[in-house]
Symmetry: C2
Subunit: 403 residues, 2 copies
């Protein structure tokens, strides 16, 4: 093969908000009609609040057609082909702030101000549509089902089975933040981890939410009040931590001890924190001087934290920067999965090929293969044979990665 098989571990898709209506269970359509204008107003206000409104509008001006790939099959195929991408993992929220599923069922899966039954209805509507989108190119698309796992656990388990049966082999996406509900070391989640292990459905956490009100102030902001100019800087630094937080709870909670084949994916939260954070966790686990005086918090784990990480955890390295490629051995070549983040404005599209080369140039071929696609292929169960003709047609030339 003279070209790389590329699978983007981080892509997004979503319908224009009004189109989710048809995918909702009928009993929620009246609520949908009431909520839609509020949701649209709210997302517009948030875009203004975050000071990104003008910039996003400007960015979208000349590429509106290409961005319809957020929901349109043909356009999506064309964009991914142009990017050299054969397969993709699909999360919700296509065009940022414009394609969220209804009732707070988008990426952040907030627990604040949502009605659980409605959030579930929104999630199921998205999952139904996503299953259809994936069926149009099942060899290329691994859709991730939205699962608002913090509420009733039986609902969550049922949705995992539904998603598997309907071809959403990207697994499920659970909320990074749990608000006032049970964190992920709580045994109440055991049935969820069990069914995900049984059906080989990866558990995905995708970055997005953070402690926003602390950065930007109360929302909606009091009339005439501007957020602090540094608020966005704080957000884009802390958001990585909130994405990775479930890992800490699940490792110490013994989740990977009890479910050794469970796969966990952490996406778009950078990867640079992994080596030293895992080393610190291992030190906490191993060092008897420190740990002996804090009671027995280790004997329920038969391996050290980094062992669970290496075996069970994969990082969706969205717009992977050169630094993460340099740290690949410390992070784990087998744990890193490059992603393009299409169609988000911070993503690599439409300069994906150039950015890939900038990130990976000079890295040994076999390692690039794994990070650009080989790891994701195994984690999400793609079929290499079925992708071969696409790779031969669109995949980036290996020669361009070596000087």
């Amino acid at each position: 093969m003279s070209r790389y098989l590329v699978i983007s571990s981080d892509c997004h898709a979503g319908l224009p908000p009004e189109k989710y209506r048809d995918y909702l269970d009928p009993q929620f359509r009246d609520a949908f009609d009431l909520a839609l204008p509020i949701q649209i107003a709210h997302t517009k206000a948030a875009a203004k609040m975050f000071l990104v409104d003008d910039i996003n509008t400007e960015w979208r001006k000349d590429i509106e057609h290409e961005l319809t790939g957020a929901w349109d099959h043909d356009q999506r195929i064309k964009v991914l082909d142009d990017d050299g991408i054969a397969g993709e993992i699909i999360y919700p929220d296509g065009i940022t702030e414009m394609n969220m599923p209804p009732f707070g069922a988008g990426l952040s899966l907030s627990t604040v101000g949502v009605v659980p039954e409605l959030q579930w209805a929104g999630a199921r509507a998205h999952n139904r549509w996503l299953a259809e989108l994936c069926q149009m190119a099942p060899e290329r698309r691994a859709g991730v089902a939205i699962v608002p796992a913090l509420w009733d656990i039986d609902d969550a388990v049922k949705e995992v089975r539904w998603a598997r049966e309907n071809g959403l082999r990207g697994g499920i996406m659970i909320p990074p933040m749990w608000g006032k509900l049970a964190p992920y070391h709580d045994p109440k989640y055991n049935p969820l981890w069990a069914v995900c292990e049984e059906l080989d459905m990866p558990v995905n956490v995708h970055s997005g939410p953070a402690d926003t009100e602390n950065y930007f102030g109360p929302m909606p902001a009091p009339e005439g009040q501007q957020p602090h100019p540094g608020a966005m800087g704080i957000y884009i630094c802390e958001v990585a931590w909130y994405m990775a937080r479930p890992l800490t709870f699940m490792i110490w909670g013994g989740v990977f001890e009890r479910y050794p084949k469970l796969k966990m994916i952490l996406t778009e939260g950078t990867s640079v924190w992994a080596p030293e954070y895992l080393a610190m966790m291992d030190q906490r686990y191993s060092e008897t001087h420190y740990s002996a005086k804090l009671g027995d918090y280790r004997s329920h784990l038969s391996m050290k934290p980094s062992d669970y990480f290496n075996r069970n955890v994969f990082l969706g390295a969205s717009c992977m920067p050169r630094r993460e490629a340099e740290l690949r051995h410390e992070i784990g070549v087998g744990n890193l999965m490059w992603g393009s983040d299409y169609p988000h404005p911070e993503g690599t599209w439409p300069t994906t090929r150039d950015q890939m080369i900038e990130t990976f140039h000079g890295v040994p071929d076999a390692e690039i293969e794994r990070m650009l696609g080989g790891n994701a292929l195994e984690v999400f169960g793609f079929d290499r044979e079925k992708l071969a003709s696409i790779v031969a047609r669109v995949g980036p030339e290996k020669s361009s990665f070596q000087d």
Copy 2:
């Protein structure tokens, strides 16, 4: 000099709880008498909850006399001499869970369930006593004044002036967590930063609090309910992040831009996170592809985040492990200050000399000098001449650090 000047950047002192009464303003003594048994019961319950009660009791059994150095001048001098330590920075909470100032004025400075006026009264009582303790050996002791900075800012500014006038040149300690109050990028804190810069009073954040209820469950725990066995593991991993969190807010908040001589100290939150976290902050600050689409959140900062860190921020490296010495160039040799954490059970005492050697053996002499004491000497304004005779008597032999 054949011996190292050692200054511990992290020591603790506190009175037995009942003795704080005499240092309180008289109008708070009735409240003190009511609160004392509740405080004692609460700390005992917390120790049981955290499963550390038996272990701490066992650890203290044969060293009860040495631990009275938490408040006793003579004993404290003896312990520090034995440890080879010439000078020290003194935070509150001497013997863990037993020497907290009253009314919630201890290390964690929680805002939950406290009365601001009483927390301030407790802080002032501790600061008065600490000033006395430091006056008994002013050349060796840099006391850190407790400043519950989240409430009224004028009170905070007044206490900084009082502390400076009363010899507490360790600076002030502010709460790592702000609960529902204003985070540290809020301009309301400007007068506090201004006075700390004016009087050369370092702003200290010391680790301790974290999102405890999320790890251990509600406190007090329902009858018969045990916390999850992994709760302590989660705590000791996340606590480092909560300690460092104010740094993110203060850098992006432009605090070090406006107050270029302000010193900030982050203590006992590990140092291993610094290199990659600062690199990520710099990337967020510098990379136009990512940042251009998020609005202007950078132009109020004239330098990149790591520049502020290098100039303004110092890390109290308590019980500094070998790994942090290995990373010293990435972290900053001039930013690291070793600490013993006496009299906390996780501290290096009573095997400080051995642990120092384990951490620093083979490191160049001039670098050890800075990390063991030289940096702290400058940051906290110790007088090298006045410490020389103590160093000559008790300092660890340089030769034992080189094979």
